[in-house]
């Protein structure tokens, strides 16, 4: 088909590039994956007359969903307030503010739910001050997972059939949405979720986490555990190492969650040489230039990216998962089914 000039940046940048990284390993490499759900959510809200020019959008996020909203709101002329916490990085905050977003930082964590809880509280407050607002609610809005059909579209056009889908889980939107759409065509596809230690998503107790963008302190409605065949937990150390390897081996300059997904996908591709593996790389590396890509920062924070961890430790129960890398055969079970299995201490 004939290529056309794009009329908006969000249109131009919403789809990933599909890269073949190995014989049976493919990557869907995004500039900003969250453009897909942010756009789908705002478009549906506009279709239902929930928003129009000049509307106020209020969301809590310290990640890329905020940047995606900032881009779309700048394009459409919506006001945007983003409630964030001290973990929000300067590059992200700078870009959002330059796009006209009001970024509110909460300073103290809440007793339950940590900073995420505190952000929610502050957001509720702002929402009552702006009764006409719209809340995209990426964690619970079903339009988040429903936004991922165009990803499946480009993947099947480029490679046809595939067997494994590997991606990180934060809201669950990208993995649940992509798996569900892809399985309407290829029901056999195995979904592999990548989480981090100290995230409640797949049953670990909540803890402070060094690896951001994946994992969660609260359980989002958009996470449907029963789509997953395998779950992996990776540490910041392991993910950072893989992020740098991705860059050094392929010049693929991506964020830390991309590194985490790549690490797991690379291992799965090696274990299953006759199966096609697709991993999702959600964002670019610029945000991480001062951290993951800085040897000095890594050193100061006690990380070393010299040695890639080659394989995970298998566990039967989420409580048994220990750094740097653990794997559990989830087998499309619910979280309570998985937690009900007797923990075997090793």
């Amino acid at each position: 088909m004939i290529r056309q000039a794009y009329t908006t940046v969000s249109d131009a940048f919403e789809l990933p590039r599909i890269l073949r990284l190995g014989e049976n390993l493919y990557a869907a490499s995004f500039f900003l994956m969250k453009l897909l759900p942010a756009k789908f959510i705002l478009d549906r809200a506009r279709d239902h007359s929930l928003i129009g020019p000049g509307s106020t959008i209020i969301e809590t996020t310290s990640g890329t969903f905020g940047l995606a909203l900032a881009i779309l709101c700048a394009e459409a002329g919506y006001k945007l307030i983003v409630v964030s916490d001290p973990a929000v990085d300067t590059p992200l905050k700078t870009r959002m503010e330059d796009l006209g977003t009001r970024v509110e930082i909460v300073r103290e964590p809440a007793a339950v739910g940590g900073f995420q809880g505190a952000r929610l509280e502050r957001m509720k407050q702002l929402q009552s001050e702006n009764p006409d607002h719209f809340w995209p609610s990426q964690y619970d809005n079903p339009h988040n997972p429903d936004a991922y059909a165009p990803l499946v579209e480009i993947v099947v056009e480029c490679i046809g059939r595939f067997d494994f889908l590997v991606g990180t889980v934060g809201s669950g939107g990208s993995m649940c949405g992509t798996s569900n759409y892809a399985r309407t065509i290829f029901p056999e596809i195995k979904a592999v979720g990548v989480d981090t230690f100290g995230s409640v998503l797949f049953g670990q107790p909540d803890q402070k986490r060094l690896l951001r963008g994946l994992g969660n302190s609260l359980m989002p409605k958009n996470l449907d555990h029963t789509i997953f065949d395998e779950v992996h937990w990776v540490s910041a150390q392991a993910a950072f190492t893989a992020t740098r390897l991705l860059h050094r081996s392929y010049a693929l300059f991506a964020g830390a969650t991309s590194g985490a997904a790549f690490m797991v996908a690379r291992w799965i591709a090696a274990q299953n040489p006759d199966k096609a593996v697709v991993c999702l790389l959600p964002d670019e590396g610029y945000r991480y230039i001062e951290t993951v890509y800085s040897d000095e920062w890594l050193d100061q924070n006690g990380f070393s990216t010299r040695h890639m961890i080659e394989s995970p430790t298998n566990v039967e129960h989420p409580f048994a998962a220990r750094p740097e890398w653990a794997r559990l055969d989830w087998n499309r079970r619910t979280l309570s089914e998985v937690l009900a299995v007797q923990e075997v201490t090793m």
Binding site: D146, A149, I154, E157, G160, T184
Partner: protein, 332 residues
């Protein structure tokens, strides 16, 4: 070198040593007493749904070519008639198509249209479109106008409101059946397919295409159609019967929620059980087909098994045909 002087009614023919000869083109306007047209049926669809183009939604489909059944049309002008007299008399869509084509060709008179067809009506094989397309071609042929396939498609939709993509023969296109234009040419050829067809409602009355309202698809279904369109591109590029079978099966499943086929779930299980690659259905009739990759081992046994199961489910016989690839009887 001197160039030939070409007047609108002459054609220049180059001979070996660049001597030129000009010949007079025959006046096509009245060179034939009778115009001829022919169009084959189709066997339902591989993909049928709603697709977005530049923010606008269009209903569109990819038909399964089915060259075994055809409609043929003969058209004669009659300066004394204002309208077209059609035989058989009930072919009113074809009559409208002939009149429309005459006007498009600048003719104010009518004529005689004779159709002969072996395409059964109302079961989703595109009998009406086959008649209409053959008619348009015959009428244009009589008028000495060489229509492009795209023009035939446009006239067909203008004459019968909704047309199948039969005019494109065995070229894979995504045809907007109510807008009369092609959304996408898939290039390449169909992969080689072996299809076992049957009627899922052999004792029923069939369907009048325009009598029931077109399906209203959900946003998610429209997104799925877009994915299937993308997979179709890959299926054609790789000449993959397996991928094409997936496109057809998914489209059939979505559409089954809007127009139910009898025992559809059993058919889906049948596909698995006999090692077929997919199932395709007609959107406007009870026709369905089980798609095989002809390269599958023991194809004969699998087809035999399919026949037996179809007979059990519907109490009816099947027919087999091939699409794309290098067909039997075609020499290398």
């Amino acid at each position: 070198m001197t160039s030939p002087i070409a007047t609108p009614n002459t054609t220049a023919v180059g001979l070996a040593d660049s001597t030129w000869l000009t010949i007079k083109k025959p006046d096509l306007r009245d060179w034939k007493a009778v115009g001829h047209g022919v169009c084959s049926a189709h066997h339902g669809e591989i993909l049928q749904g709603m697709f977005e183009v530049n923010g606008k939604l269009h209903r569109a489909l990819i038909s399964v070519p089915f060259g075994h059944l055809i409609s043929e049309a003969r058209f004669e002008c009659d300066e004394n008639l204002k309208t077209v007299v059609v035989e058989p008399r009930n072919c009113v869509k074809a009559q409208a198509a002939a009149e429309l084509t005459l006007r498009k060709c600048g003719r104010k008179h009518g004529g005689y249209l004779t159709l002969s067809s072996n395409v059964p009506a109302r079961i989703g094989l595109g009998s009406s479109t086959a008649d209409v397309v053959a008619t348009i071609e015959a009428t244009a042929d009589r008028c000495g106008v060489d229509l492009s396939t795209e023009e035939v498609a446009e006239f067909a939709v203008a004459a019968e409101i909704a047309s199948d993509g039969s005019m494109f023969g065995n070229r894979a296109v995504l045809f907007a059946q109510r807008d009369g234009f092609v959304l996408e040419y898939f290039g390449g050829q169909y992969p080689h397919l072996y299809i076992v067809g049957f009627n899922t409602d052999p004792n029923g009355w069939g369907v009048d295409t325009l009598a029931f309202p077109p399906a209203t698809y959900t946003v998610k279904e429209i997104k799925s159609f877009q994915m299937l369109r993308a997979l179709m591109r890959r299926a054609i590029e790789d000449r993959s019967a397996a991928l094409l079978g997936r496109v057809a099966s998914c489209s059939a499943r979505i559409n089954n929620d809007h127009l139910k086929k009898k025992h559809f779930e059993e058919l889906e299980r049948l596909v698995e059980a006999v090692g077929a690659v997919g199932i395709q259905v007609a959107h406007s009739g009870p026709i369905a087909g089980i798609i095989f990759d002809p390269a599958t081992a023991e194809l004969g046994e699998r087809v035999f098994e399919t026949n037996a199961r179809v007979a059990e489910l519907y109490g009816t016989q099947t027919w087999c045909f091939e699409v794309g690839g290098r067909r039997r009887g075609l020499s290398k």
